[in-house]
């Protein structure tokens, strides 16, 4: 089986780098004892398969959000390789857009224009804070339409019907389409953000702590929505969270990060029921 997304040895070092930064034996966590650079990600590798939901767990500062930013091209890694659809890039062919350049290419070294093209056509991102993913003073329809406009849609009628369809799917009252998200509740803003992320039929959806700022009942509804959409659209998803409940609920496979490094990975049930690594054991047992 060929993975949809494959990343190899992604490292991100903030500060000047020295040969010791990535030493596994570094005692000082993510800070290098020699040059005092911060290694946010160290040699992270994993694969994501079609129709699969991968969870990334870890405490604050473990590098999970940095990793997601790198995968979404928001941040440049110090080094690393990322491939999409190896062996079968034609599968993601989009009318009028030539994406042949992704074949056997390290996507992390593409130029910004091509990165943006890939992000607009293949990826969707849901941020923890709706302010990061949405323009708060532009109508919800416009926010969803922005992704479509980026992908080259030039017909107002079709943009609006697509936005309407997505708002219905994400359970936002479609009659509020022309209102700005700043007038919406937190849960509704998050649903608009999900609609926006899905607007261009991405093949990979990233979720960065999608429900952290929401109260429990709203959390449950947003999670159910994400799960329903994943089943319906057969999306490959990466969910970053420090909440093991969310990871258990959504994901089938999990990697555990600490100090920028993957310390354990496996099937979610296995990792949560029978953790092998000392840190994972601590994480699982400190869950309330």
């Amino acid at each position: 089986m060929i993975p949809v997304l494959e990343v190899k040895n992604i490292s991100k070092i903030y500060g000047k780098e020295c040969p010791h930064c990535l030493d596994p034996e570094n005692a000082g966590g993510s800070i290098c004892p020699f040059c005092h650079s911060v290694a946010a990600c160290r040699d992270v590798s994993f694969s994501l398969y079609e129709d699969e939901v991968l969870g990334i767990v870890g405490e604050s500062g473990s590098g999970k959000s940095t990793l997601l930013k790198i995968l979404n091209f928001d941040e440049e890694p110090t080094r690393g390789v990322m491939e999409i659809g190896r062996g079968n890039p034609g599968k993601f062919g989009i009318k009028g857009i030539n994406l042949d350049f992704i074949e056997n290419a390290n996507l992390l070294t593409l130029n910004p224009y091509r990165k943006r093209l890939l992000r607009n056509h293949l990826m969707g991102m849901v941020y923890q804070n709706p302010h990061l993913g949405l323009k708060m003073h532009i109508s919800s329809g416009g926010n969803i339409g922005e992704r479509l406009l980026m992908a080259g849609w030039r017909n107002i009628g079709s943009i609006r019907s697509r936005a309407m369809e997505l708002l219905i799917k994400t359970e936002v009252p479609p009659e509020r389409m022309d209102e700005a998200p700043s007038k919406f509740s937190g849960g509704m803003q998050q649903r608009v953000q999900i609609a926006k992320a899905l607007s261009n039929n991405p093949i990979i959806l990233y979720l960065d702590e999608p429900t952290t700022g929401l109260d429990l009942s709203v959390q449950a509804r947003v999670l159910d929505l994400v799960k329903k959409l994943q089943k319906e659209l057969k999306l490959a998803m990466i969910v970053v969270s420090h909440d093991l409940g969310i990871i258990r609920h959504l994901t089938s496979r999990t990697i555990v990060m600490k100090n920028g490094r993957v310390v354990e990975s496996g099937l979610t049930d296995q990792v949560l029921e029978d953790p092998q690594n000392a840190y994972t054991q601590l994480l699982v047992h400190s869950n309330l």
């Binding site: 224009y113 109508s139 416009g142 406009l149 017909n155 009628g157 609006r160």
Partner: protein, 280 residues
């Protein structure tokens, strides 16, 4: 003629820099080239950009015409024309077809320009993306990556709110299918004339220190949606009260006492020619 200044007021090094930047601008249609805008004897924002281009490309055999909103007689046009005449000694004209260089504020003349003419635009705000993005660093990135979604989103919002695109003068155009460009505040009516023209169009913003160009035979279009396309101002059924022209850009004149509306050509040279019977 004995001149008290270097020919064209600017020193030769300044002219050379501006000419170099003009060449770069022509080589990359629609791209804004930064340049060292000089102090001029008129205030920035009053046509110093256009003036610097004109003074850099003008030669003793050129014939100059200056218009302001189509008019040869407005204060800004007359002052600039007198100034250039004084520092170069070149002849001036009001006849669009006789001029070799036309400096303009916010209009393109009605008569078709030829490949032997250059139209120099005075530009107040060269950055078309400024209405959607304040940061210069960010707008430069957007141009570099041809990321114009913010502008499209602005048009979308305008259509959703008001039922139409509410941009009038200075409507953003796509040049050579690559760079989004502000055509300076010319009416939408003039935008089709920018495309596939025989004439070289040079744009310069003195205050904002940018030069850009549309070379002859370059494809230019006002941006729009399939179901809300770019439209020009509609003057159907209206004609000039002075010369009777139809199909020209008309100024609306409202009589304060009677409240009646009449229309008159904005291009005074054209209007006089037609009144004299010098054309058709």
């Amino acid at each position: 003629m004995e001149l008290d200044f270097n020919f064209g007021f600017l020193d030769e090094n300044a002219k050379r820099e501006i000419r170099r930047k003009i060449l770069k601008a022509i080589a990359i249609p629609g791209y804004q080239v930064p340049f060292g805008s000089r102090e001029m004897p008129i205030a920035r924002g009053w046509g110093t950009g256009g003036l610097q281009i004109t003074l850099s490309i003008i030669g003793p055999d050129d014939i100059l015409k200056v218009i302001d909103q189509g008019s040869d007689d407005s204060v800004n046009a007359v002052n600039i024309k007198k100034f250039i005449g004084k520092v170069t000694g070149v002849g001036t004209t009001e006849d669009t077809l006789k001029a070799t260089i036309i400096q303009t504020r916010h209009r393109i003349p009605e008569e078709k320009l030829s490949e032997n003419q250059v139209l120099v635009f005075q530009v107040p705000l060269p950055e078309p993306l400024r209405i959607v993005e304040h940061s210069e660093k960010e707008t430069r990135r957007m141009h570099a990556e041809a990321d114009y979604s913010a502008m499209w989103l602005y048009l979308y919002e305008s259509i959703v709110k008001f039922g139409e695109i509410t941009l009038g003068a200075g409507y953003p155009v796509m040049v050579n299918s690559r760079y989004l460009m502000s055509p300076s505040p010319i009416p939408r009516f003039d935008i089709p004339r920018l495309s596939m023209a025989d004439t070289l169009y040079l744009f310069c913003a003195g205050r904002e220190k940018r030069i850009y160009a549309i070379p002859p035979h370059t494809y230019v279009e006002g941006i729009g949606f399939e179901d809300h396309p770019f439209r020009i101002e509609d003057f159907s059924g209206k004609s000039c009260a002075a010369c009777g022209s139809e199909g020209t850009y008309l100024n609306e004149i409202i009589d304060d006492e009677t409240g009646s509306r009449t229309y008159q050509c904005s291009d005074t040279s054209w209007c006089r020619k037609v009144s004299r019977g010098a054309v058709k």
